[in-house]
Amino acid sequence: MTELTATHHAATTRDAGEPQHLSRGKVGISCLIITESFFFMCFIVAYLYYIVILQVDDGGPDPSVIFRADIMVYIASVTLLSSSVTVVLAARALAAGRHGRFRAWLATTLALGGFFLLATVLEWKHLIGDLGVWMDTSSFGTCFFSLVGFHALHVVIGLSALGLCLLLSLRGHLPQAQAERFEILSWYWHFVDVVWIFVFTSVYLLRVYI
């Protein structure tokens, strides 16, 4: 056992290589993001297959119900994507120890994400409440609500985690030393935004322009 440990430190430094710099948290969140991406892939594939490629016509509501929707979804998309910028600014502020700025940018992020969620709620209210569209009414309903719904669920999770950070920060429990953890959380938030790009493209763009 003793032979295995460093006795001649100077001699072994070069050979032993640098100590590992990879952060457990960052590698871990990257793995989680890969996992989640493949999870979303199932629902994107289902949407593309049934709605965009086959254009299944089962007599129930089809995508036309959302094209009439409105400008709202475009505004909401811009809002959500902007929140990726604000969360970076928040992470940088925390890393620099500027807590006031951090809270301001974090609150902005929450507001932007919250607006996106509100837009989803209004859209669903319109679809379910006014038009009576749901998973069991057509293939479109099945694919739309499962895909958009799982994305919205991830927005909720992300907002909860970010909201918790704001709460902790306001109570003084989020010191500069935790900046890396917040950065890791911000990666997750970026992921939620990137998924939306794919969802938005599949659901709101492709069927219009193909």
């Binding site: 295995l4 050979d15 590992q20 457990r24 890969i34 493949f38 199932c42 289902a46 998973m135 099945t142």
Partner: protein
């Protein structure tokens, strides 16, 4: 990172209190070694259950038109047998070994996320219990009780409400879904541990092949399992929210289930075999007294197999009528994957070649693995040929094929690994005499069980059918298979007796009973909770060789 073991009161230091407090220690532990052992134990328990289910199948098929069990029970038996062996035996035992060995082999004190690790184990276990609860709890509102009976890949629309009343399919879906979360957590944990926690000097290309195989398996778990989760969620939506994913009467596509399931299912096969490759790559060099032949190519072959395993899934679907272009693509990619696999086989042979071979039980299982896996691989190449597959698809030929790779391959590697690392885990050797009995009974029984299946399959015996007619000429082949099962059963009894006996009376192992070279043999058997103090520093792929032979260290040559 300073650890003072002298002042740290560890779990093993506590005075031998009552049974309850020992149970409490194991239940609340976050130690990768204890969790690894619990994974393996739970997996072996499910192995016994799944084996008994196979016994019911073999009893029913032991002679034609046997009235012993009804078709529904038969369907439940093969469904639960397959599901159990894949999700509750193969994965937990292999990931359990990963859990136990990876931190030791890379010279660190625990996994990257110990509590996540504990969570993963318990989620897996309760997922398995949930699946088995279906035997008594799945009657639902329709009085349609019993275990799932839709086959382990649960093709739709068989799983729809119309054809599977009661809740048995829901137990299958939820049980697998829940234990899948545990597997994903473990996959992430393995990848992070290996990438972030290696000791000084443990460069990637110095890691034992076993660690490489776990890293790559971890990636495959991360990529494949979420697809299973997604497709199970779709099935739940279909069954509970009236969604239209897989219902052909509502414009759903049953092919989507097959594509998504096998996009998970084929990498899953490699999740079950890559760690086995890792075990063999550790055992063969030690018992041939040689360095592993072609380390670099072994690593490249692992990466190649893992990458390509994501592009072969539709070879499970040749018989459903895909376009010829797709069939050709998947046939070609499947044939091509034999190349890296062949590289591994030849590298093991190259390692054995000219070595001073020690026929200890781990090596017997490793040699058995190489032979049996090659047979399974060759029938795999036959099945990758589309016209041949059309002829024998869903016949016992396929059953024989995948049992040669999963039983002769994975399970033989698992038993080899148990004989090899049992001394490290418990501090005692397993009996060599009983081990030989175990090996030979299993080897003979295994070939007698699964060899004749190829014949009965070519003669036209379909899988998943509860009986066969007397005039088909299938009797003798089925009877050989059933006799083979009995011989294997006795072999497993030798194994159980060996474990129970050796735990109490086995020879003391010492830290390095096999004169091996990887790091785990540098610490005591069983290792202390902190594994190493101080943490080791390595300069080559065989740190213990360097320590034992300072005049001729490996580091001079690598």
């Amino acid at each position: 990172m300073t650890v003072r073991p002298q002042s740290t009161k560890t779990e093993t230091d506590t005075a031998p209190a009552g049974v309850l407090s020992r149970v409490h220690e194991w239940v609340t532990t976050v130690d990768h070694k204890r969790l690894g052992i619990m994974y393996i134990m739970a997996g072996l328990l499910f192995f016994m259950i799944g084996g008994i289910e196979a016994g019911v199948i073999r009893y029913q098929l032991s002679y034609p038109a046997n009235p012993a069990i009804d078709p529904v029970t038969f369907n439940q038996m093969f469904t639960m047998h397959g599901t159990t062996m894949v999700f509750l035996v193969g994965m937990p035992v292999l990931l359990g070994f990963g859990n136990y060995l990876v931190p030791l082999m890379i010279g660190t004190r625990d996994m990257a996320f110990p509590r996540l690790n504990s969570w993963g184990f318990w989620v897996f276990l309760f997922g398995g219990l949930l699946l088995y609860y279906s035997f008594i709890g799945s009657s639902g509102l329709y009085g349609d009780a019993g275990a799932p009976d839709v086959g382990w890949f649960a093709y739709s629309p068989l799983t729809s409400r119309a054809f599977s009343r009661g809740n048995s399919v829901d137990y299958w879906t939820l049980g697998i879904l829940v234990s899948g979360f545990g597997s994903m957590a473990t996959g992430i944990n393995l990848v992070v541990t290996i990438l972030c926690l290696r000791c000084r000097g443990m460069k990637l290309m110095r890691m034992p092949i076993m660690v490489w195989s776990m890293l790559i398996t971890g990636f495959l778990v991360i990529v494949a399992l979420p697809v299973l989760t997604g497709v199970q969620v779709m099935l739940l939506f279909d069954r509970f929210l009236g969604a239209h994913f897989f219902d052909p009467q509502l414009e759903g596509s049953v092919l989507l289930w097959q594509h998504l399931f096998w996009f998970f299912g084929h990498p899953e096969v490699y999740i079950l075999i890559l760690p086995a490759f890792g075990f063999i790559s550790e055992i063969v060099p030690v018992f041939s007294r040689k360095v592993i032949f072609g380390y670099n190519m072994m690593v490249i072959a692992l990466l190649w197999i893992a990458f390509q395993s994501l592009g072969v899934w539709a070879h499970h679907m040749f018989a459903v009528g895909l376009p010829p272009s797709l069939n050709a693509f998947f046939a070609a990619s499947t044939l091509l994957i034999a190349v890296p696999t062949g590289i591994k086989i030849f590298n093991w042979l190259g390692t054995i070649w000219g070595g001073r071979i020690i026929y200890a039980t781990p090596m017997l299982f490793a040699l058995g693995f190489v032979g049996l896996f090659v047979i399974g691989g060759l029938t795999g190449i036959m099945l990758a040929t589309v016209p041949f597959d059309w002829d024998v698809s869903d016949s016992y030929f396929v059953v024989g094929h995948f049992h040669y790779v999963l039983f002769g391959g994975t399970l033989f590697a698992i038993f080899g690994a148990i004989y090899y690392w049992f001394p490290k885990m418990t501090g005692r050797m397993l009996s060599e005499r009983l081990g030989r009995w175990h090996f030979w009974m299993l080897f003979v029984g295994m070939n007698l069980t699964f060899g004749p299946m190829h014949v009965s399959g070519i003669l036209g015996m379909p899988r998943r059918i509860y009986t066969y007619a007397p005039e088909r000429g299938l009797d003798i082949w089925n009877q050989m298979t059933t006799v083979g099962y009995a011989i294997q059963f006795i072999g497993i009894l030798f194994f159980i007796w060996n474990v129970i006996h050796s735990l109490r009376k086995g020879r003391r192992a010492g830290s390095d009973p096999w004169d091996a070279w990887t790091l785990e043999w540098a610490t005591s058997s069983p290792p202390p909770a902190w594994n190493y103090h101080p943490l080791p520093v390595v300069k080559s792929r065989r740190p213990l060789w360097d320590a034992k032979h300072p005049e001729d260290p490996d580091s001079e040559y690598e």
